[in-house]
Amino acid sequence: MKKIISIFAILFSFAFTSNSYSKTEIHWWYGNSGFLGDVIIEIANRFNESQDEYMVIPTGKGSYEDNMAATIAAFRAGDQPHYSQVYDAGAAIMVAQVKNGVVIGFEEMAEKYGIDVDADNYIPGIKNFYADADGKMVGVPFNSSTCLMYANMDILAEVGIEEVPRTYEEFEAIAQQIADAGYIPLLQSHSPWIWTENFFSRHNLLMTDGNNGYDAVPTKTLFADTPEFVMHWEKVKEWYEKGWYGYKGRAWGDNQAPFTNGEAAFWFGSAASFGGMKGVLPNFTTNPILYWDSVTGGKEYPTFIGGAANWILNGHTEEEYKGLAKFIEFMGSPEMDLYYHNMTGYAAVTKGGIELAETINFYRTSPYHKAVGDQLGLEGSTIPGGYRAGNWPQIREVIYENVEPMLNGDISVEKALGNMDNGAEKLLAQFAKTL
């Protein structure tokens, strides 16, 4: 009996100590897990230790989709967090929520609570991706990646290839050599993101009408109407049949695993993917993603930002927003930006962070980190730096659904792209009804 009482006494004392501080609590929900989730917790801890007025409480909700669904459900129940991480495909939905008073835009917040980080401190490409129609930044850029090409240098050396290809044409010239040596020449982990959305950005082509949704609400995607895109998938299918491209299902990890295990020469993944490869794969590099020389005439264009931003949600007290403003300021400092860039491989999102990286000669010691900034920093695009199309998570699903039968040979490339357009058109119309 005594034991039980003392256990209760201990539990109670814990309960009281944790409540006895009256710090203002700020809730931050996120959709990263594993190592990336640990880094988020570390950021919050560092902020909490840096001052003692506010306390940021990070809560992981699973995947990006899970976190978005949880945030929405919480909002509907009147119990939303202050700050939530929402991914690229959800950006259109979040930007549209400013007018409904769900989301507070960054610039509005900065004005009201005097955040010392100007929207112009963020890299233009990243800033524009999360901005509204007037160019005002709404989401706060956070983990910004893009798709990159990983190359296994040992395989290339073994088959006698000296230079990592920069174009698909160069890849085609060496693919058979790699296949003959018993390796998979190419894998990629996300057909909608890498080979659809970023095919268009990489080649400076419009993906939807309404100027990618920046000028008008988009009504259709331009998949089958873009001959370059049709050509690309014809080629992919040809590679698949020749064994130059290996398709390992829809799961990101299943496509990455052969590369990590040294069975594939090239893999297209995210800029933040190399964490798990270090120490497993002895000799790999990160490179800009390939492009068709025949499409761009030798010119390279930047890809879209991937990853996620943090969004400020309405419905809390002024005191709490002041704390959140402090936290945003803290995260936007050059040191924290570079810390996050270094830990995860996501791009540095502030100009201050990039300057700091240059000052300390960061990329000489960490070559893996360089490609993402190089690729996102390319100039000369005439298309917007993103797309504003609603129901995009479902459109990605439609893309997936048609890629498999296309590679199978069940339907032709043209038919598959046509199906994608049809599916997307209906989903875009459905979204337009809610505006």
Binding site: M68, I93, Q97, G249, P405, D410, Q430, K433
Partner: protein, 292 residues
């Protein structure tokens, strides 16, 4: 049937109230909410909502992957019911006639029932992974199995993953059914007929009909609703949308796609399908079953 009538008094409602309240909150209120979602169009956060009539239903019927999900769900529930029922019955008959170590067999065969579908899916993943999956490589050597691309192979994958655990459920109920059959009936039949197989089909199996009927309903409901976790941890609906069940599609559209209107309409369609199946079963099949 005899009708028993009690004198009416209000106290009965008082005692019923807690149970009714639970039903109202956890059953009827969500159903009403689903109906509301199905007939409105709204954005993810619930704004811009307006009455849309049958627009959401038109939308799902214009979606080819809805028909695919429908087709798959029917095939899947039929195959799972057949496989789990027959293997469960076979194992139950065998375990019932075993003389030594009966309890060991029983316990081992019941165990998988305690495993959550999502965990079953993860385990199936190990068997069907291209990297280290035993079954993947066995089948791949036999006929070039590749569930990433081939629809039939993907069916095999999800059917094996989906039936394994459910075989246990069938086993338990069939075994209980077998043990409830009176010894005298079995003994009398042994005198009349020598053939084991014939005796099983003419005496034992008809006496198991109530159990079988019950299990058919349980298995269909299982493959409709409970296999969600299995699909989500195995094929995630691929290739194409060929292995999406109706429930999984509603989940994808509602929770990942954030389109509550479409998900609501799909839920109502599902309710109708289950209603039709249940009515059909109780009207046309149950009438042919003798419980005594």
């Amino acid at each position: 049937m005899k009708k028993v009538q009690f004198k009416s008094s209000y106290s009965q409602y008082f005692f019923l109230a807690p149970q009714l309240l639970i039903l109202l909150i956890f059953l009827y209120w969500p159903i009403i909410q689903t109906f509301r979602d199905a007939f409105t169009i709204q954005d993810a956060f619930g704004f811009g909502s307006y009455f849309a009539g049958f627009d959401n239903f038109k939308f799902i019927f214009s979606d080819p992957s809805y028909y695919t999900a429908f087709k798959f769900t029917i095939i899947y529930s039929f195959v799972i019911t057949l496989i789990t029922g027959s293997i469960g019955l076979l194992l139950a008959v065998q375990a019932n006639s075993v003389l030594h170590g009966k309890n060991v067999y029983k316990t081992l065969l019941i165990w998988p029932y305690a495993i959550a579908p999502a965990v079953v899916g993860v385990m199936a993943n190990y068997f069907f992974s291209e990297r280290f999956g035993l079954l993947y490589h066995l089948f791949n050597n036999l006929w070039g199995f590749n569930w990433y691309q081939d629809v039939f192979d993907a069916y095999i994958y999800v059917v094996i993953a989906g039936s394994w655990k459910q075989i246990s459920a069938n086993f338990i109920f069939f075994l209980a059914g077998l043990q409830a059959i009176q010894k005298t009936v079995i003994e009398a039949s042994i005198i009349d007929c020598k053939s084991n197989i014939r005796r099983f089909w003419t005496i034992t199996f008809p006496l198991l009909m109530p159990t079988t009927f019950f299990l058919i309903i349980i298995n269909i409901t299982y493959s409709f609703f409970d296999t969600f976790g299995i699909i989500d941890t195995t094929t995630i609906g691929a290739p194409g949308s060929e292995t999406k069940t109706l429930v999984y599609k509603a989940y994808i559209d509602g929770f990942k796609g954030l389109d509550l209107g479409s998900a609501g309409a799909q839920s109502i369609m599902m309710m109708l399908i289950v209603l039709v199946i249940t009515i059909f079963q109780f009207r046309y099949i149950e009438g042919k079953i003798h419980y005594n």
